[in-house]
């Protein structure tokens, strides 16, 4: 293959991904070989490629206590889970992605840690040690996906600034702790409670930088699935994932899952800090996700729950598959809490879809595995697509819903394999 062919192939492919070229041109492509060697390449997975500078600067790097993860940035640390770990429905703690906003991340010791529960809308301010929390409240456990709001941001075309994530700013774990509602009941929630504000022990490098704190609607805080978790997959939370305790808000994007949680405040007015009023916002009405009613702004509103999505984990673009054997299409699907109704696979550019078999149901907030064998009889390029639909009828989109901060990328993946 001449170099010019590669360039043309890649450009054409980009147009194809954007949905602007006809079906006929697909047959001439064998485009993805050029991407396959790069760490964390989204092009290799059949998506639009990450920015050039992102690809050039990212590589596998081992944080203390972790397996090698895809380094996006050192400080604050932002590390992505390689795709291999999504071949199992539960993401191992050592491979779980790392995402921090502020550079000051203390090494918290369990014996020194305490959680303050207060705010103007509780009757009594309380302070808990880890021991006391575990002793006084009934344990609760839930399997749930933690997904960074900006997961897949790097695949936005045109690109938008931010942490240029590929597909791995997410993970699925069994979280164990106590229910936030039980803790709040002990403090006594007043009738005027509107939001619950969560703050972690992390600190900015400069005093002037807004501290990272998030709020959730009081009804979400009082939901039985919202936990203060100390354990992840049967082990204490890793330092990088919020030791000794973090908030778990199943269905909601990771920004609300405050790590190293030290303060819970029940308030009667909307929390107005930068991370609520300006960051983590989507244009109003652009997505069908529920609104955070006390935080609605004029042009935008906070991101809330995850959109339905899936990831093919068994194939990479450019991979050569011997003909004659069935081609295993496997992966995972998830959504914002309705649960996965079905995943369908297409090998004819979406003209027809075939239902995949779903794996074990680990609850409506968990990854759901899917698998389907498709025939691979004729030599040539084959495009494999997967599309998940939730029990609320929501399905993945064919064309990106572009938004300024790069949230909710759930475009249908197209993996190009070669049958040889």
């Amino acid at each position: 293959m001449k170099k010019s062919d590669v360039i043309i192939g890649s450009k054409l492919r980009r147009r194809l991904l954007a949905g602007t070229a006809g079906i006929g041109t697909l047959a001439v492509l064998s485009p993805a070989r050029i991407f396959a060697a790069e760490v964390g390449s989204s092009g290799a997975l059949g998506f639009a490629e990450l920015p050039d500078g992102t690809l050039a600067e990212q590589f596998l790097y081992t944080l203390p206590g972790k397996v090698p993860l895809i380094k996006k940035t050192y400080r604050p640390p932002n590390f992505e889970t390689p795709i291999e770990y999504f071949r199992a429905p539960i993401t191992p703690n050592k491979a779980f992605f790392v995402r921090w906003h502020l550079a000051g991340i203390p090494q918290v010791k369990a014996k020194d840690w305490s959680l303050t529960v207060g705010g103007e809308s509780v009757q009594n301010e309380l302070k808990f040690t880890l021991e006391r929390l575990k002793r006084e409240f009934k344990p609760a456990e839930i399997t749930a996906v933690c997904l960074c709001s900006g997961n897949r941001r790097g695949m936005f075309e045109p690109h938008v600034p931010g942490v240029e994530w590929g597909v791995g700013a997410m993970g699925n774990a069994r979280w164990r702790g106590v229910r936030l509602k039980d803790v709040l009941a002990k403090a006594g929630v007043k009738g005027d409670a509107l939001e619950v504000v969560l703050d972690g022990a992390d600190q900015p490098a400069l005093d002037k930088t807004p501290d990272f704190a998030k709020s959730i609607p009081v009804e979400v805080a009082l939901n039985e699935n919202t936990l203060i978790a100390f354990e992840m997959n049967g082990q204490p939370l890793p330092h990088w994932n919020g030791f000794p305790a973090r908030l778990i808000v199943p269905g909601w994007t990771g920004t609300y899952w405050v790590k190293q949680l030290v303060s819970v405040k029940v308030v009667s007015k909307p929390e107005a800090n930068f991370w609520m009023s300006t960051a983590y916002r989507i244009p109003r009405g652009m997505f069908k996700t529920p609104s955070f009613k006390s935080q609605l702004g004029k042009p935008n509103e906070p991101i809330t729950t995850m959109v339905v999505n899936s990831l093919i984990t068994s194939l990479k673009s450019g991979q050569q598959i011997p003909r004659g054997k069935p081609l295993p299409v496997k992966g995972i699907a998830w959504d914002g809490g309705a649960g996965i109704e079905r995943v369908e696979v297409s090998t004819d550019y979406g003209s027809s879809w075939q239902r995949a078999t779903l794996g074990k149901d680990r609850g409506r907030f968990s990854f759901r595995e899917f698998a389907l064998n498709v025939p691979a009889k004729e030599p040539g390029s084959l495009v494999v697509m997967a599309r998940a639909t939730s029990r609320s009828g929501e399905t993945q989109v064919e064309k990106l819903i572009h938004n300024p901060a790069g949230y909710h990328h759930n475009v249908i993946q197209r993996v190009y394999v070669e049958i040889v």
Binding site: T73, Y74, P76, P161, V163, P204, A205
Partner: protein, 95 residues
């Protein structure tokens, strides 16, 4: 520059990963001013966000760092930093 180095030393003491120092910015006019960014974050943030922003995009980013995150960058340096970033990490000119 002395302040920048002092701030960097603080940041490193605050738990930065040693390998961070391997991330370097390309030489060019304005690089010294752009080095102020390390007060709050590693320089790979700049590489990661390249090459797709034009000068207006980089100016907006620098202004966000000052106005929202409180970066102690003199207003007079914004133009120099944005030009440096656009030149070295900006969107390539249309062919």
């Amino acid at each position: 520059m002395r302040t920048v180095i002092a701030v960097l030393a603080l940041a490193v003491a605050g738990g930065a990963l040693a390998q961070e120092s391997k991330v370097v910015l390309r030489d060019g006019p304005g690089k010294d001013k752009a080095m102020q960014c390390v007060a709050c974050h590693s320089l790979d943030y700049i590489h990661m966000n390249s090459r797709f922003l034009d000068k207006a995009g980089w100016t907006a980013s620098v202004n966000k760092m000052i106005n929202v995150f409180g970066a102690p960058i003199p207003k007079d340096d914004v133009e120099t930093i944005a030009s440096y970033l656009a030149q070295n990490f900006g969107k390539p000119a249309q062919k």
